[in-house]
Amino acid sequence: MPTGNFVSIRNVSLIYGEGEDSILAVQDLSLEIEKGEFVAVVGPSGCGKSSLMKLVTGLVRATRGEIYVGDQRVLDPIRGVGMAFQNPTLMPWRTTLANIMLPFEIVQPHKRLIGRDRARYVAQAEQLLATVGLRQFGGKFPWELSGGMQQRANLCRAVIHQPELLMLDEPFGALDAFTREELWSVMQRVWIEKRFTGVLVTHDLREAAFLADRVFVISPRPGRVIYETRIDIPRPRTLQTTFEPRFVDIVHALRERISQELTV
Protein backbone atom coordinates (compact mmCIF):
# COMPACT_ATOMS: atom_id res chain seq x y z
CA MET A 1 0.00 0.00 0.00
CA PRO A 2 1.44 3.39 -0.96
CA THR A 3 1.42 6.02 1.79
CA GLY A 4 1.14 9.18 -0.24
CA ASN A 5 4.85 9.79 0.03
CA PHE A 6 6.72 9.70 -3.25
CA VAL A 7 9.35 7.21 -2.13
CA SER A 8 8.47 4.74 0.56
CA ILE A 9 10.95 2.17 1.83
CA ARG A 10 9.46 -0.22 4.35
CA ASN A 11 11.40 -2.67 6.51
CA VAL A 12 13.75 -3.45 3.70
CA SER A 13 16.61 -5.89 4.11
CA LEU A 14 19.13 -6.77 1.45
CA ILE A 15 21.36 -9.82 1.50
CA TYR A 16 24.11 -10.21 -1.10
CA GLY A 17 25.28 -13.69 -1.95
CA GLU A 18 24.20 -17.01 -0.51
CA GLY A 19 25.03 -19.29 2.38
CA GLU A 20 28.27 -18.72 4.29
CA ASP A 21 29.45 -15.87 2.09
CA SER A 22 26.25 -13.88 2.24
CA ILE A 23 26.48 -10.29 3.40
CA LEU A 24 23.66 -8.50 5.13
CA ALA A 25 24.04 -5.08 3.51
CA VAL A 26 20.83 -3.42 4.68
CA GLN A 27 18.67 -4.46 7.62
CA ASP A 28 15.12 -3.48 8.34
CA LEU A 29 15.51 -0.03 6.83
CA SER A 30 12.53 2.28 6.57
CA LEU A 31 12.48 5.69 4.93
CA GLU A 32 9.78 8.00 3.60
CA ILE A 33 10.52 10.76 1.11
CA GLU A 34 7.95 13.34 0.05
CA LYS A 35 7.49 14.46 -3.52
CA GLY A 36 9.81 17.32 -4.40
CA GLU A 37 11.90 16.78 -1.31
CA PHE A 38 15.68 16.62 -1.38
CA VAL A 39 17.08 14.18 1.15
CA ALA A 40 20.62 13.19 1.95
CA VAL A 41 21.72 9.82 3.25
CA VAL A 42 24.99 9.87 5.18
CA GLY A 43 26.97 7.26 7.02
CA PRO A 44 30.37 5.63 7.31
CA SER A 45 31.73 3.94 4.22
CA GLY A 46 30.44 0.45 3.60
CA CYS A 47 27.14 1.09 5.33
CA GLY A 48 25.04 0.15 2.36
CA LYS A 49 24.35 3.66 1.08
CA SER A 50 24.97 2.67 -2.49
CA SER A 51 22.85 -0.43 -1.99
CA LEU A 52 20.04 1.91 -1.02
CA MET A 53 20.42 3.70 -4.37
CA LYS A 54 20.16 0.45 -6.26
CA LEU A 55 17.21 -0.69 -4.20
CA VAL A 56 15.18 2.45 -4.82
CA THR A 57 15.83 2.41 -8.56
CA GLY A 58 15.07 -1.29 -8.77
CA LEU A 59 18.51 -2.23 -10.07
CA VAL A 60 18.72 -4.60 -7.09
CA ARG A 61 15.72 -6.31 -5.60
CA ALA A 62 15.14 -6.23 -1.84
CA THR A 63 15.47 -9.55 -0.05
CA ARG A 64 12.73 -8.55 2.38
CA GLY A 65 10.41 -5.58 2.68
CA GLU A 66 8.74 -3.33 0.15
CA ILE A 67 9.72 -0.25 -1.79
CA TYR A 68 7.27 2.07 -3.52
CA VAL A 69 8.08 4.91 -5.91
CA GLY A 70 5.09 6.98 -6.93
CA ASP A 71 2.35 4.48 -6.27
CA GLN A 72 4.16 1.59 -7.91
CA ARG A 73 5.92 -1.17 -6.10
CA VAL A 74 9.56 -1.40 -7.27
CA LEU A 75 10.32 -4.88 -8.53
CA ASP A 76 12.25 -4.15 -11.72
CA PRO A 77 14.40 -1.19 -12.77
CA ILE A 78 12.08 1.80 -12.83
CA ARG A 79 12.16 4.00 -15.89
CA GLY A 80 13.22 7.56 -16.40
CA VAL A 81 15.21 8.02 -13.20
CA GLY A 82 18.16 10.40 -13.31
CA MET A 83 21.37 8.99 -11.89
CA ALA A 84 24.81 10.41 -11.26
CA PHE A 85 27.78 8.64 -9.75
CA GLN A 86 31.17 9.70 -8.43
CA ASN A 87 32.62 8.55 -11.73
CA PRO A 88 31.07 10.82 -14.41
CA THR A 89 30.56 7.86 -16.82
CA LEU A 90 30.27 10.13 -19.83
CA MET A 91 30.68 8.33 -23.13
CA PRO A 92 34.05 9.24 -24.65
CA TRP A 93 32.78 8.73 -28.22
CA ARG A 94 30.08 11.37 -27.81
CA THR A 95 30.51 15.13 -27.53
CA THR A 96 29.40 16.70 -24.27
CA LEU A 97 26.19 17.88 -25.91
CA ALA A 98 25.45 14.45 -27.37
CA ASN A 99 26.20 12.93 -23.97
CA ILE A 100 23.70 15.00 -22.08
CA MET A 101 21.09 14.39 -24.79
CA LEU A 102 21.31 10.64 -24.21
CA PRO A 103 18.18 10.48 -21.98
CA PHE A 104 16.14 12.06 -24.80
CA GLU A 105 16.99 9.05 -26.96
CA ILE A 106 15.72 6.59 -24.35
CA VAL A 107 12.97 8.20 -22.27
CA GLN A 108 9.46 8.68 -23.69
CA PRO A 109 7.92 10.90 -24.94
CA HIS A 110 11.24 12.48 -26.00
CA LYS A 111 12.38 9.32 -27.76
CA ARG A 112 9.38 9.59 -30.07
CA LEU A 113 9.68 13.34 -30.62
CA ILE A 114 13.41 13.90 -30.95
CA GLY A 115 13.58 12.78 -34.57
CA ARG A 116 11.13 15.45 -35.66
CA ASP A 117 12.09 18.14 -33.21
CA ARG A 118 15.82 17.83 -32.87
CA ALA A 119 16.52 21.57 -32.95
CA ARG A 120 14.29 22.22 -29.96
CA TYR A 121 15.95 19.45 -27.95
CA VAL A 122 19.42 20.70 -28.83
CA ALA A 123 18.43 24.18 -27.72
CA GLN A 124 17.12 22.76 -24.45
CA ALA A 125 20.38 20.88 -23.86
CA GLU A 126 22.47 23.94 -24.67
CA GLN A 127 20.47 26.03 -22.28
CA LEU A 128 21.01 23.52 -19.50
CA LEU A 129 24.75 23.47 -20.23
CA ALA A 130 24.74 27.25 -19.91
CA THR A 131 23.01 26.98 -16.50
CA VAL A 132 25.91 24.96 -15.13
CA GLY A 133 28.55 27.15 -16.76
CA LEU A 134 29.40 25.00 -19.77
CA ARG A 135 28.03 27.28 -22.48
CA GLN A 136 31.00 26.95 -24.84
CA PHE A 137 31.73 23.30 -24.21
CA GLY A 138 28.92 21.36 -25.86
CA GLY A 139 31.04 20.51 -28.88
CA LYS A 140 33.99 19.29 -26.82
CA PHE A 141 34.54 15.66 -25.97
CA PRO A 142 34.38 14.68 -22.29
CA TRP A 143 38.09 13.97 -22.11
CA GLU A 144 38.77 17.54 -23.18
CA LEU A 145 37.01 18.77 -20.02
CA SER A 146 38.35 19.00 -16.47
CA GLY A 147 37.02 16.66 -13.78
CA GLY A 148 34.72 19.36 -12.41
CA MET A 149 33.35 20.15 -15.87
CA GLN A 150 32.74 16.47 -16.54
CA GLN A 151 30.78 16.23 -13.32
CA ARG A 152 28.71 19.28 -14.33
CA ALA A 153 27.91 17.56 -17.62
CA ASN A 154 27.07 14.39 -15.69
CA LEU A 155 24.55 16.33 -13.58
CA CYS A 156 23.06 17.80 -16.75
CA ARG A 157 22.59 14.33 -18.18
CA ALA A 158 20.91 13.21 -14.97
CA VAL A 159 18.32 16.01 -14.94
CA ILE A 160 17.78 16.95 -18.58
CA HIS A 161 14.72 14.76 -19.11
CA GLN A 162 13.06 16.28 -16.02
CA PRO A 163 13.04 13.07 -13.99
CA GLU A 164 10.70 12.89 -11.05
CA LEU A 165 13.43 11.15 -9.10
CA LEU A 166 17.13 11.99 -9.11
CA MET A 167 19.59 9.64 -7.44
CA LEU A 168 23.06 11.00 -6.67
CA ASP A 169 25.74 8.63 -5.42
CA GLU A 170 28.61 10.77 -4.10
CA PRO A 171 28.69 12.77 -7.32
CA PHE A 172 31.09 15.34 -5.88
CA GLY A 173 33.30 12.88 -4.03
CA ALA A 174 36.24 12.91 -6.42
CA LEU A 175 36.44 16.69 -6.82
CA ASP A 176 38.67 19.20 -5.07
CA ALA A 177 37.08 21.22 -2.26
CA PHE A 178 36.62 24.44 -4.27
CA THR A 179 34.95 22.74 -7.21
CA ARG A 180 32.83 20.62 -4.90
CA GLU A 181 31.43 23.61 -3.03
CA GLU A 182 30.78 25.43 -6.26
CA LEU A 183 28.85 22.44 -7.60
CA TRP A 184 26.72 22.33 -4.47
CA SER A 185 25.40 25.74 -5.48
CA VAL A 186 24.95 24.60 -9.07
CA MET A 187 23.03 21.55 -7.84
CA GLN A 188 20.85 23.64 -5.57
CA ARG A 189 20.08 26.07 -8.40
CA VAL A 190 18.99 23.23 -10.68
CA TRP A 191 16.86 21.70 -7.92
CA ILE A 192 15.14 24.99 -7.07
CA GLU A 193 14.31 25.39 -10.74
CA LYS A 194 13.05 21.85 -11.42
CA ARG A 195 11.91 20.62 -7.98
CA PHE A 196 12.47 16.95 -8.58
CA THR A 197 12.64 14.50 -5.69
CA GLY A 198 16.32 14.09 -4.90
CA VAL A 199 18.25 11.46 -2.99
CA LEU A 200 21.89 12.26 -2.33
CA VAL A 201 24.18 9.61 -0.92
CA THR A 202 27.33 11.09 0.53
CA HIS A 203 29.82 10.88 3.36
CA ASP A 204 30.36 14.62 3.41
CA LEU A 205 28.19 15.98 6.22
CA ARG A 206 28.50 19.61 5.15
CA GLU A 207 27.39 18.64 1.68
CA ALA A 208 24.39 16.79 3.09
CA ALA A 209 23.40 19.73 5.30
CA PHE A 210 23.88 22.23 2.49
CA LEU A 211 21.76 20.47 -0.10
CA ALA A 212 19.13 18.50 1.78
CA ASP A 213 15.77 19.22 3.40
CA ARG A 214 16.24 16.18 5.57
CA VAL A 215 19.32 14.14 6.40
CA PHE A 216 19.25 10.47 7.34
CA VAL A 217 22.16 8.86 9.16
CA ILE A 218 22.71 5.20 8.37
CA SER A 219 24.54 2.84 10.74
CA PRO A 220 27.56 0.77 9.72
CA ARG A 221 26.65 -2.47 7.96
CA PRO A 222 24.00 -3.77 8.15
CA GLY A 223 22.56 -0.36 7.34
CA ARG A 224 19.63 1.01 9.33
CA VAL A 225 18.42 4.57 9.80
CA ILE A 226 19.67 5.66 13.22
CA TYR A 227 19.07 9.40 13.09
CA GLU A 228 17.05 11.82 11.07
CA THR A 229 17.13 15.60 11.08
CA ARG A 230 15.35 18.35 9.21
CA ILE A 231 17.46 21.21 7.90
CA ASP A 232 15.29 24.29 8.34
CA ILE A 233 17.65 26.74 6.69
CA PRO A 234 15.90 28.79 4.00
CA ARG A 235 17.01 28.51 0.37
CA PRO A 236 18.90 29.47 -1.59
CA ARG A 237 21.69 28.60 0.80
CA THR A 238 25.07 30.07 0.03
CA LEU A 239 28.57 29.14 1.01
CA GLN A 240 28.25 31.89 3.60
CA THR A 241 25.44 29.85 5.17
CA THR A 242 27.87 27.04 5.90
CA PHE A 243 29.72 29.28 8.37
CA GLU A 244 26.62 30.30 10.31
CA PRO A 245 26.30 28.80 13.81
CA ARG A 246 23.03 26.95 13.14
CA PHE A 247 24.57 25.23 10.11
CA VAL A 248 27.68 24.36 12.06
CA ASP A 249 25.50 23.00 14.88
CA ILE A 250 23.64 20.71 12.52
CA VAL A 251 26.88 19.34 11.08
CA HIS A 252 28.22 18.80 14.61
CA ALA A 253 25.11 16.94 15.65
CA LEU A 254 25.39 14.68 12.62
CA ARG A 255 29.06 14.03 13.25
CA GLU A 256 28.34 13.21 16.88
CA ARG A 257 25.72 10.63 15.96
CA ILE A 258 28.01 8.90 13.51
CA SER A 259 31.00 8.78 15.84
CA GLN A 260 28.80 7.42 18.66
CA GLU A 261 27.70 4.66 16.36
CA LEU A 262 31.25 3.84 15.33
CA THR A 263 32.65 3.67 18.88
CA VAL A 264 29.92 1.37 20.22
Binding site: G58, R79, F85, M91, R94, H161
Partner: protein, 257 residues
Amino acid sequence: MTNARRLQIAIPWLVGVGLFAVWELACRVFEIPPFVLPRPSAVFATMYDYRGPLLEHSLHTLFTTIIGFVLAVAGGTAIGLAVGASSFVYVGLYPVLIAFNSIPKVALVPVIVIWFGIGTIPAVITACSIAFFPIAVNIATGLATIEPEMRDVLRSLGANRWEILTKVGLPRSTPYLFASLKIAITLSFIGSVISETVASNIGIGYLMLSASSRFEVPLVFAGLIIVGAMGIGMYAVCVVFERRMTRWAFRSQDLIS
Protein backbone atom coordinates in the same frame (compact mmCIF):
# COMPACT_ATOMS: atom_id res chain seq x y z
CA MET B 1 56.55 19.06 -40.49
CA THR B 2 59.18 18.77 -37.79
CA ASN B 3 62.42 16.86 -38.19
CA ALA B 4 61.30 14.28 -35.64
CA ARG B 5 58.12 13.64 -37.62
CA ARG B 6 60.08 13.36 -40.88
CA LEU B 7 62.39 10.84 -39.26
CA GLN B 8 59.40 8.89 -38.00
CA ILE B 9 58.08 8.54 -41.56
CA ALA B 10 61.50 7.66 -43.00
CA ILE B 11 62.54 5.07 -40.41
CA PRO B 12 60.40 2.12 -41.61
CA TRP B 13 61.80 2.56 -45.13
CA LEU B 14 65.36 2.86 -43.86
CA VAL B 15 64.96 -0.31 -41.80
CA GLY B 16 63.52 -2.15 -44.81
CA VAL B 17 66.33 -1.05 -47.11
CA GLY B 18 68.90 -1.83 -44.39
CA LEU B 19 67.51 -5.33 -44.00
CA PHE B 20 67.83 -6.03 -47.72
CA ALA B 21 71.36 -4.58 -47.68
CA VAL B 22 72.45 -6.89 -44.85
CA TRP B 23 70.86 -9.86 -46.63
CA GLU B 24 72.59 -8.99 -49.91
CA LEU B 25 75.93 -8.53 -48.16
CA ALA B 26 75.61 -11.79 -46.22
CA CYS B 27 74.84 -13.73 -49.40
CA ARG B 28 77.89 -12.27 -51.13
CA VAL B 29 80.33 -12.54 -48.21
CA PHE B 30 79.39 -16.10 -47.23
CA GLU B 31 78.85 -17.15 -50.87
CA ILE B 32 75.49 -18.72 -50.12
CA PRO B 33 74.23 -20.70 -53.15
CA PRO B 34 71.15 -19.08 -54.75
CA PHE B 35 69.03 -22.24 -54.37
CA VAL B 36 69.50 -22.00 -50.60
CA LEU B 37 69.09 -18.25 -50.15
CA PRO B 38 69.00 -16.05 -53.24
CA ARG B 39 70.37 -12.52 -53.09
CA PRO B 40 67.67 -9.83 -52.89
CA SER B 41 69.02 -8.29 -56.10
CA ALA B 42 68.36 -11.61 -57.84
CA VAL B 43 64.93 -11.83 -56.22
CA PHE B 44 63.99 -8.36 -57.44
CA ALA B 45 65.32 -9.16 -60.91
CA THR B 46 63.13 -12.29 -60.95
CA MET B 47 60.22 -10.24 -59.71
CA TYR B 48 60.67 -7.97 -62.73
CA ASP B 49 61.01 -10.85 -65.18
CA TYR B 50 57.89 -12.61 -63.88
CA ARG B 51 55.90 -9.42 -63.29
CA GLY B 52 52.95 -10.67 -65.37
CA PRO B 53 52.26 -13.97 -63.57
CA LEU B 54 53.22 -12.49 -60.21
CA LEU B 55 50.71 -9.68 -60.63
CA GLU B 56 47.97 -12.05 -61.75
CA HIS B 57 48.48 -14.55 -58.94
CA SER B 58 49.02 -12.01 -56.20
CA LEU B 59 45.91 -10.05 -57.21
CA HIS B 60 43.98 -13.28 -57.00
CA THR B 61 45.36 -13.94 -53.52
CA LEU B 62 44.55 -10.38 -52.48
CA PHE B 63 41.00 -10.87 -53.74
CA THR B 64 40.40 -14.15 -51.89
CA THR B 65 42.03 -12.75 -48.76
CA ILE B 66 39.81 -9.68 -48.71
CA ILE B 67 36.65 -11.73 -49.25
CA GLY B 68 37.68 -14.12 -46.46
CA PHE B 69 38.55 -11.16 -44.24
CA VAL B 70 35.22 -9.42 -44.84
CA LEU B 71 33.34 -12.64 -44.04
CA ALA B 72 35.47 -13.03 -40.90
CA VAL B 73 34.62 -9.48 -39.81
CA ALA B 74 30.90 -10.14 -40.26
CA GLY B 75 30.96 -13.57 -38.62
CA GLY B 76 33.43 -12.63 -35.88
CA THR B 77 31.43 -9.51 -34.98
CA ALA B 78 28.20 -11.49 -34.79
CA ILE B 79 29.75 -14.21 -32.63
CA GLY B 80 31.56 -11.66 -30.47
CA LEU B 81 28.32 -9.73 -29.85
CA ALA B 82 26.48 -12.92 -28.94
CA VAL B 83 29.23 -14.12 -26.63
CA GLY B 84 29.71 -10.70 -25.03
CA ALA B 85 26.02 -9.93 -24.59
CA SER B 86 24.85 -13.19 -23.07
CA SER B 87 26.58 -15.24 -20.42
CA PHE B 88 24.68 -18.32 -21.63
CA VAL B 89 26.10 -18.05 -25.10
CA TYR B 90 29.49 -17.33 -23.56
CA VAL B 91 29.53 -20.47 -21.43
CA GLY B 92 28.12 -22.60 -24.20
CA LEU B 93 30.07 -21.37 -27.17
CA TYR B 94 33.47 -20.43 -25.82
CA PRO B 95 34.92 -23.95 -25.46
CA VAL B 96 33.82 -24.76 -29.01
CA LEU B 97 35.41 -21.57 -30.33
CA ILE B 98 38.67 -22.31 -28.55
CA ALA B 99 38.67 -25.89 -29.79
CA PHE B 100 38.07 -24.74 -33.34
CA ASN B 101 40.76 -22.11 -33.12
CA SER B 102 43.27 -24.69 -31.85
CA ILE B 103 42.90 -26.79 -34.99
CA PRO B 104 45.70 -26.03 -37.45
CA LYS B 105 43.86 -24.69 -40.46
CA VAL B 106 46.23 -26.46 -42.84
CA ALA B 107 44.71 -29.71 -41.59
CA LEU B 108 41.28 -28.38 -42.45
CA VAL B 109 42.06 -27.54 -46.08
CA PRO B 110 41.81 -31.14 -47.42
CA VAL B 111 38.36 -31.46 -45.85
CA ILE B 112 37.22 -28.19 -47.39
CA VAL B 113 38.59 -29.39 -50.73
CA ILE B 114 36.46 -32.55 -50.46
CA TRP B 115 33.42 -30.34 -49.91
CA PHE B 116 34.05 -27.53 -52.37
CA GLY B 117 36.82 -28.65 -54.73
CA ILE B 118 40.16 -26.89 -55.10
CA GLY B 119 40.80 -23.21 -55.87
CA THR B 120 39.23 -20.01 -54.65
CA ILE B 121 36.54 -21.26 -52.29
CA PRO B 122 38.83 -23.22 -49.93
CA ALA B 123 41.18 -20.21 -49.83
CA VAL B 124 38.35 -17.88 -48.86
CA ILE B 125 37.05 -20.28 -46.21
CA THR B 126 40.51 -20.88 -44.74
CA ALA B 127 41.22 -17.14 -44.59
CA CYS B 128 37.88 -16.55 -42.90
CA SER B 129 38.20 -19.42 -40.43
CA ILE B 130 41.62 -18.31 -39.23
CA ALA B 131 40.73 -14.61 -38.95
CA PHE B 132 37.36 -14.57 -37.21
CA PHE B 133 38.60 -15.71 -33.80
CA PRO B 134 40.55 -12.61 -32.69
CA ILE B 135 37.66 -10.45 -33.92
CA ALA B 136 35.09 -12.40 -31.90
CA VAL B 137 37.26 -12.40 -28.78
CA ASN B 138 37.97 -8.68 -28.96
CA ILE B 139 34.35 -7.68 -29.52
CA ALA B 140 33.31 -9.87 -26.61
CA THR B 141 35.98 -8.22 -24.46
CA GLY B 142 34.73 -4.78 -25.42
CA LEU B 143 31.21 -5.70 -24.37
CA ALA B 144 32.28 -7.44 -21.19
CA THR B 145 34.27 -4.46 -19.95
CA ILE B 146 31.46 -1.89 -20.05
CA GLU B 147 31.55 0.08 -16.81
CA PRO B 148 28.71 -1.13 -14.57
CA GLU B 149 27.82 2.48 -13.72
CA MET B 150 27.31 3.24 -17.41
CA ARG B 151 24.97 0.27 -17.64
CA ASP B 152 23.13 1.38 -14.49
CA VAL B 153 22.62 4.89 -15.86
CA LEU B 154 21.05 3.45 -19.01
CA ARG B 155 18.96 0.86 -17.20
CA SER B 156 17.55 3.41 -14.79
CA LEU B 157 16.58 5.58 -17.76
CA GLY B 158 14.59 2.59 -18.97
CA ALA B 159 16.86 1.38 -21.75
CA ASN B 160 16.29 -2.16 -22.96
CA ARG B 161 19.03 -4.61 -23.82
CA TRP B 162 19.07 -3.59 -27.45
CA GLU B 163 19.50 0.08 -26.56
CA ILE B 164 22.30 -0.72 -24.12
CA LEU B 165 23.97 -2.74 -26.87
CA THR B 166 23.69 -0.08 -29.56
CA LYS B 167 24.33 2.99 -27.42
CA VAL B 168 27.13 1.63 -25.25
CA GLY B 169 28.18 -1.86 -26.31
CA LEU B 170 28.88 -1.23 -29.97
CA PRO B 171 30.67 2.12 -29.70
CA ARG B 172 32.55 0.82 -26.66
CA SER B 173 33.85 -2.18 -28.59
CA THR B 174 34.88 -0.39 -31.80
CA PRO B 175 38.46 0.25 -30.61
CA TYR B 176 38.70 -3.45 -29.73
CA LEU B 177 37.26 -4.34 -33.14
CA PHE B 178 39.79 -2.27 -35.02
CA ALA B 179 42.66 -3.57 -32.93
CA SER B 180 41.56 -7.08 -33.88
CA LEU B 181 41.18 -6.20 -37.57
CA LYS B 182 44.89 -5.50 -37.77
CA ILE B 183 45.61 -9.00 -36.48
CA ALA B 184 42.85 -10.56 -38.55
CA ILE B 185 43.99 -9.14 -41.90
CA THR B 186 47.47 -10.60 -41.53
CA LEU B 187 45.97 -13.94 -40.43
CA SER B 188 43.72 -13.86 -43.50
CA PHE B 189 46.79 -13.77 -45.75
CA ILE B 190 48.23 -16.75 -43.89
CA GLY B 191 44.97 -18.62 -44.38
CA SER B 192 44.55 -17.97 -48.07
CA VAL B 193 48.21 -18.63 -48.94
CA ILE B 194 48.18 -21.90 -46.95
CA SER B 195 45.10 -23.05 -48.81
CA GLU B 196 46.55 -22.06 -52.18
CA THR B 197 49.73 -23.93 -51.39
CA VAL B 198 47.88 -27.10 -50.47
CA ALA B 199 45.08 -27.12 -53.00
CA SER B 200 44.86 -24.60 -55.78
CA ASN B 201 45.98 -23.90 -59.31
CA ILE B 202 45.93 -20.17 -58.90
CA GLY B 203 47.20 -17.63 -56.37
CA ILE B 204 50.56 -16.66 -54.99
CA GLY B 205 50.73 -19.75 -52.76
CA TYR B 206 50.31 -22.01 -55.77
CA LEU B 207 52.92 -19.99 -57.67
CA MET B 208 55.43 -20.37 -54.85
CA LEU B 209 54.79 -24.10 -54.53
CA SER B 210 55.25 -24.74 -58.22
CA ALA B 211 58.34 -22.48 -58.29
CA SER B 212 59.95 -24.41 -55.46
CA SER B 213 59.20 -27.74 -57.10
CA ARG B 214 61.16 -26.40 -60.11
CA PHE B 215 63.93 -25.12 -57.77
CA GLU B 216 63.26 -21.56 -58.86
CA VAL B 217 64.07 -20.33 -55.37
CA PRO B 218 64.33 -16.61 -56.29
CA LEU B 219 60.73 -16.77 -57.54
CA VAL B 220 59.64 -18.33 -54.23
CA PHE B 221 61.24 -15.45 -52.39
CA ALA B 222 59.65 -12.97 -54.76
CA GLY B 223 56.28 -14.46 -53.80
CA LEU B 224 57.11 -14.27 -50.08
CA ILE B 225 58.10 -10.61 -50.35
CA ILE B 226 54.91 -9.80 -52.25
CA VAL B 227 52.73 -11.50 -49.61
CA GLY B 228 54.54 -9.52 -46.93
CA ALA B 229 54.08 -6.27 -48.85
CA MET B 230 50.37 -6.94 -49.37
CA GLY B 231 50.07 -7.64 -45.64
CA ILE B 232 51.64 -4.28 -44.83
CA GLY B 233 49.37 -2.55 -47.33
CA MET B 234 46.16 -4.02 -45.94
CA TYR B 235 47.33 -3.39 -42.39
CA ALA B 236 47.81 0.26 -43.30
CA VAL B 237 44.27 0.41 -44.70
CA CYS B 238 42.97 -0.97 -41.39
CA VAL B 239 44.96 1.65 -39.46
CA VAL B 240 43.46 4.45 -41.55
CA PHE B 241 39.95 3.16 -40.87
CA GLU B 242 40.77 2.74 -37.20
CA ARG B 243 41.93 6.34 -36.88
CA ARG B 244 38.83 7.62 -38.62
CA MET B 245 36.30 5.56 -36.71
CA THR B 246 37.74 5.63 -33.20
CA ARG B 247 39.43 8.99 -32.93
CA TRP B 248 38.21 9.31 -29.35
CA ALA B 249 40.21 6.26 -28.30
CA PHE B 250 43.45 7.79 -29.58
CA ARG B 251 43.11 11.11 -27.87
CA SER B 252 46.59 11.26 -26.38
CA GLN B 253 48.30 10.90 -29.77
CA ASP B 254 45.95 13.47 -31.25
CA LEU B 255 46.78 15.99 -28.59
CA ILE B 256 50.49 15.63 -29.28
CA SER B 257 50.40 15.87 -33.07
